[in-house]
Point group: C2
Chain length 211, copies 2
Amino acid sequence: MAEIFEPHAIEKRSMEIITSELNGRTWPEPTFSVVRRCIHTSADFDYADNLRFSDKAVELGVKLLRSGANIVTDTMMAFSGINKNRLESYGGKAHCFIKDQDVIEEAKRRNCTRATVSMEKAAKLEGPVIFAIGNAPTALIRIAEMIEEGIMKPALVIGAPVGFVNVVESKEMIMKAGVPFIVPAGRKGGSNIAATICNAMLYYNGEIDEA
Amino acid sequence: MAEIFEPHAIEKRSMEIITSELNGRTWPEPTFSVVRRCIHTSADFDYADNLRFSDKAVELGVKLLRSGANIVTDTMMAFSGINKNRLESYGGKAHCFIKDQDVIEEAKRRNCTRATVSMEKAAKLEGPVIFAIGNAPTALIRIAEMIEEGIMKPALVIGAPVGFVNVVESKEMIMKAGVPFIVPAGRKGGSNIAATICNAMLYYNGEIDEA
């Protein structure tokens, strides 16, 4: 039995194991922090291969968060997983509209997903918004449509829905939408992955070069 | 672009794809529902290989939930992921004590994880309890210890912490603890997996044989 039980020591040791098992593969920081934390959250080294970043996306995310950007999630799970104390210490706020009564009713009326409607509600937020999508391809698709329609322009999109229907296509759409993105390409992702990408950026404490 | 956007149709089609890609591998129900839903939540077919069940664990879980058993999680993410409307319709309730002030203070004082202390708090609940552990090996270890010490006897343990330190060992401990279990062996798991195993049992609508 391993003898490590102190919370910070556990995390430190975990990151050392991940770095070691990556066999020398590395990324410039702060991107490496995101890659490592996705593997930490899933124990799945596929994230070393599937993560796609638009140019300097993680640097941008860190800067946005440090200057008080808000985060919108598609699920309560992703919302729950985000370190809201840290986020709020920078002045930002996390939102998830999926359980709002108006969203539920409109989705029923239109026979579409609540995720779609919740993104339309999020489009009305003021200030820079990071979208963290961990479940619903329909959320990601609606974001891409609203960008194309000129309805909104997200500061950054974490596009990490998981699954077998519409998921791969939705990620391809968002990567072509002309906005900064962090996306695990393919079927994998999840609310845990969307949240952990946010947290990796919130926890990163290094310098960020001014672009 | 796939043409399926209606929520129930998306889930139905996803399950068909998973079944098809399992290439004829199958499990008796309701176990198959759990296997399928773990893959659905992660897009990771490793769950077809790593899931371990004590004898008739899923049947037991379904029966427990239908008769109003409570669920205790180690994280707010797992708590958030559980369909609480469905759970409460059977008379059960979901609990997570990780953010309770008394838990936070005691963990600080003892320099152990909040997960450990939250399990000790959960041990005081009355009635049958399903533990759904998706993050903290220390939670699972404390459960195994309390079983051995005769402090409590969980009705079922979903042991799905994820990660690199203490995780594999904690799962081995719980599988030898003499209580019913559902465990993804190895490093993989997560709050999403713990929640989805609960939901698979909550959503299962077939008959359960009386043992």
